[in-house]
Assembly symmetry: C2
Homo-oligomer: 369 residues x 2
């Protein structure tokens, strides 16, 4: 195998497939990036057995072939090479020689035969959306997946398509995040659970441009994201997702309209007084024209007031401040509506069109605080 | 005590004194910043017993007084407050109330009586230099102090003043870094060892502007840096510094002139192949018109050539690549001169005026490599 690529193109592609290289594994072959040169194309491949990525690199092919090279060593070498053409040549013993200007690296690769290549799946009828929308919807929901592997379903997100609507849902037992996106076409009903890790890695690779599209294919066991010169293939999480709709009530006793940034900054400040380990709630007291926020801890106390518009009853309710912060951070509106029922029932932060719904469970607190 | 300061001014001053708050200590009072309001001035003070910092904050004084507040909590609160006036008020029980807009924090402080205030030292005849020069000279030498506390002297830097010259020296047993600065006045002879930690913290606070000055005072046991509204006082390290001048020889067998950036990038690339733990040298082969650099490790090998201008003998010599990188990074010249004697003798990287001298010991290597 012998190829010549520009350092920039090569680095870019290496960085994409690196997302599927496991940080820890007992199988050395998984620590490798495969360079496969055939049929006039140069392809980089990595696969951690749950998530696999293939991407094409522009370049000149002088000789076809295939090799697996340690991803960490290879990526660091490429990163530090001068900005110029890079030639990669391999010999029969899987020694790879990387030359750029007067710099020459020789590293030993591995036989790619052992490598778990991505399965060939039948791709038809893609769901199409903009890279911008996909990247945003991931950012706006992925924070509320659970990282507790003992409940696998909570570590993923529900992707549900009904006609021309995509609904993405994540939950961790304390809160639910729901985002709805309108699609440009009608699709058959789809309901799958996508691993959160896959979505986090995909969103790092997506350009985030409104004009760039991504095609999503679904099979029984896999989801495939196809965009630019890249294919990301991931296993789905098996099982039945939680029945969300019965948690969503449109009844409320109190509705508050508040400036999002003021509320977010205030809650953010309050967390200074709380150490990770002690779960001090922020106490929110809503009366006619203002919301009073209080926190009390071993370190000290905070008390702040924010002007609001209110409908309905006064209420005194406590929350884990982190959950409010996470939701408010990903809402782009200047003002938000918060719907409350009673101090034991979840609150809802949502817009009128329900393009987003953030449900957060309250926390018990000592009313004497 | 009651004061009102702008959030920006207060945060700026807090960040300055934070440099003298120890990260670990068994004395809770040392974790505090003291706010001292008297004689029409608001002063913040921190002291880790080796390094102490005082700085003034602009503000309105409504009532004088003094309090010690936990530095971490106080600095985080100030950082997250809105950009507006901050009022700080204390009561007889050392409770501090911090109010900014509608936000109110209450935290309990400590009695400042236990605090180790900075000693009053007799300040006269300061050595004056620009903040730029001091900041630069620290950056250009401090990387080669030793972090091994068992040899205290090596953890500091020699500050030596002779007439109108300041010479700053650091060494760690493998290399010596020397920088010379011309002063605008004549001074009495001074020779002291300043703790490296002090210099690192001072250089973080210095503006780095050529137009800003810093006054340095020396006493038997202390060095004092006075600049802007800040005083930094540090203990000196006691003992006799190494006799450097007898290590500096102007004899050489080989002199190389080389592009600094090319050499630095090449050595930087070579370190990819070396793990922290194995001390693989970079082998440098100098002949008539080129320098060949080679490294060989379990990961792979690198080989690169750089054009040079050479006087004297050919030479084959090995170095710890990190030591070359550290020195080359802080040299601002486009080209550097390297002076070599033999494969067992130190090399010198220095300019003609000897405004900088970097001495680096070579490493033994298997010539068969």
């Amino acid at each position: 195998m012998k190829i010549v690529c520009s350092k920039g193109d090569l680095l870019n592609s290496v960085n994409i497939v690196l997302k599927a290289v496991p940080t820890r594994t007992t199988m050395p072959i998984l620590e490798c990036i495969v360079i496969e040169v055939k049929n006039e194309s140069i392809k980089l491949i990595a696969n951690d057995m749950e998530l696999g990525i293939e991407t094409l690199v522009k370049g000149t092919i002088e000789d076809s072939g295939i090799i697996a090279i340690n991803a960490k060593v290879f990526s660091e070498i490429v990163r530090k090479l001068p900005d110029n053409d890079v030639s990669i040549e391999t010999d029969a013993n899987n020694m790879a020689t990387i030359i750029c200007e007067k710099s020459k690296f020789t590293i030993s690769g591995r036989n790619a035969d052992e490598f778990p290549f991505l399965p060939n799946v039948d791709k038809k009828d893609p769901v199409v959306l903009s890279q911008f929308n996909l990247k945003e919807v991931i950012r706006q929901t992925v924070f509320s997946i659970s990282d507790n592997e003992s409940n696998k379903i909570m570590t993923g997100e529900l992707f549900e398509i009904n006609n021309d609507k995509l609904r993405v849902i994540s939950l961790d037992g304390h809160r639910v995040s729901i985002r709805k996106i309108m699609l440009n076409n009608q699709y058959e009903h789809i309901k799958v659970i996508v691993p959160g890790k896959t979505l986090i890695e995909v969103s790092k690779i997506l350009s985030g441009e409104v004009a760039d599209e991504v095609n999503i294919y679904f099979t029984d066991k896999h989801i495939i994201f196809e965009f630019d010169d890249t294919i990301v293939l991931s296993r789905l999480i098996e099982g039945e997702y939680y029945k969300i709709d019965q948690m969503l009530s449109s009844d409320y006793e109190t509705k508050v309209n508040i400036n999002k940034k003021e509320l977010l900054n205030c809650i953010d400040r309050s967390t200074l007084l709380v150490k990770e380990t002690d779960k001090k709630p922020i106490i929110i007291n809503i009366d006619d024209k203002k919301m009073e926020l209080k926190i009390n801890s071993a370190i000290g106390s905070m008390d702040e007031e924010i002007d609001i518009t209110k409908e309905g009853k006064d209420i005194l309710i406590g929350f884990n401040p982190k959950f409010l912060i996470d939701a408010l951070r990903v809402i782009d509106d200047e003002e938000v509506d918060i719907y409350l029922i009673n101090p034991k029932a979840p609150c809802f932060i949502k817009d009128k069109e329900e393009s987003y719904i953030y449900l957060i469970l309250p926390v018990n607190f000592n009313a004497a605080v």
